[in-house]
Amino acid sequence: MTPFDYERATDASSAVTRVASHPNAAFLGGGTNLVDHMRLGVAHPDLLVDVTRLPLASIDVSSDGLVRIGAGVRNSDLAANRVIRERYPVLSQALLAGASGQLRNLATTGGNLLQRTRCAYFQDTTVPCNKRSPGTGCSALDGHNRDHAILGASQQCVAVNPSDMAVALTALDATIVVLGPQGERRIPIADFHRLPGDAPERDTVLRHGDLIIAVELPALRVAAHSAYYKVRDRASYAFALISVAVALQVADGRVEDVRIALGGVAHKPWRALRAEASLRGAAATDESFGRAAEAELADAKPLKHNAFKIPLARNTLRMMLRNLAAGARS
């Protein structure tokens, strides 16, 4: 690990000013990804500004139903929150599907959104990687790419976003509240993470010095009928091969409202707008669910070792819709 200075932030705006004016500074949250990357040589900030003691650790519900989650709320506390469990079960389930009890006690909401891909080549500083060292090439493109993207990838990068939480937040139309050197701004989560294109080193639209201070969830009736399913190589404590977040509202046998996002398939949590469009107003039947899943995966492009993900994503999405529809009718 290269040497670095450590400072503890006393308020959010001076933390932003400090990091923005120091080109190689980074914010420190739970540290579960950053400290590991510093040890691996993937990241080497020379100044860490610790934001974990800022007053950003509360979950507030406003009278119009908007839920504001402080960026410092730990993953375990968010998953266990009563309002989240009742109104947004997909979010609790996604959080509980990620990492382990010990890591969820450390990891923060803001940090989870910024965690980086677990592509083995990204984490291995001895091999080329456009995300880690722009312009050096992509080792996964013709390498071991079983875990990699089937949607939205580029010739420069085929890595996938590893977050479970972000998949649920994408289905829920969350808004990311960011404090930057020019003040506060709100970014819809669909616009927050990027596809790799020719700049895979940029995971998100954030600029240096931007600090996530909160995540907002809209009041969303459909969210009460939601669930998260994660397919992985072992039953617990593993990253997703495929994951699906679905919220589904059925009335009189028809799909009244639906939100879908997929994980493990792309460089960002994948909002399944085509599947949603094909379902809205359609009969809530297995045939409709199958058609929606087909539509979403129609443009999927497999790499050498991950073609299995296409039917896996299709079947998992169809199963989730079927299960939720059965629950919604009862």
């Binding site: 540290g31 510093m38 860490l48 009890g101 010990q102 039953a235």
Partner: protein, 172 residues
């Protein structure tokens, strides 16, 4: 870059100067001589370094010591009251819930933290219905303890030990 910090470790107030790169795990083991928490993977993947930090279970290999200034830490060696073992420790002994023992201090701290979480009503990924109080079945115990690996494969007896600790009213 050096930093002066204070940690309360197993009930004892300790002051030390650490390089900012020092993890909480290395600060305990290399600076304070508290070696109960073990270094396994050093990447947050095995759970051998688990302690209770301000009452919550965490891995210590990914926490910087300087960021933990002022924290209160309980390791497996701070659990016993004199010669009386903590009920979770006693259960691990009675059920032979180990072979080589390297992961055991982390397993025990993790189990204690996990039982507190369950007592507070926190669900897990396998809890049926997120809003009911969790019932700690074997399936629940396995899921909640999945962050602690045991390369000897003592899992069956670890689950049995935790089940006994629950029946004896263990929380902390």
């Amino acid at each position: 870059m050096k930093a002066s910090i204070t940690l309360r470790v197993d009930g004892e107030q300790r002051s030390l100067a650490v390089d900012t790169r020092t993890t909480l795990l290395d600060a305990m083991r290399e600076h304070l001589g508290v070696t109960a928490a073990k270094k396994g993977c050093d990447h947050g993947q095995c759970g051998a370094c688990t302690v209770l930090l301000d009452g919550r279970r965490v891995t210590t290999c990914l926490s910087l010591a300087v960021a933990c200034d002022g924290a209160s830490i309980v390791t497996a060696q701070g659990l016993a009251r004199g010669d009386t073992l903590h009920v979770v420790q006693q259960a691990f002994l009675e059920h032979d819930a180990l072979q080589c023992g390297y992961c055991t201090p982390g397993q025990i701290c993790s189990a204690i933290g996990m039982l507190e979480e369950a007592k507070a009503g926190h669900p897990s990924f396998v809890t049926r219905g997120l809003t009911a109080a969790p019932d700690l079945t074997d399936e629940e115990i396995r899921e909640r303890m999945s962050g602690n690996l045991c390369r000897c494969g003592a899992y069956v007896n670890i689950v049995a030990a935790i089940r006994q600790a629950i029946s004896k009213g263990a929380t902390s």
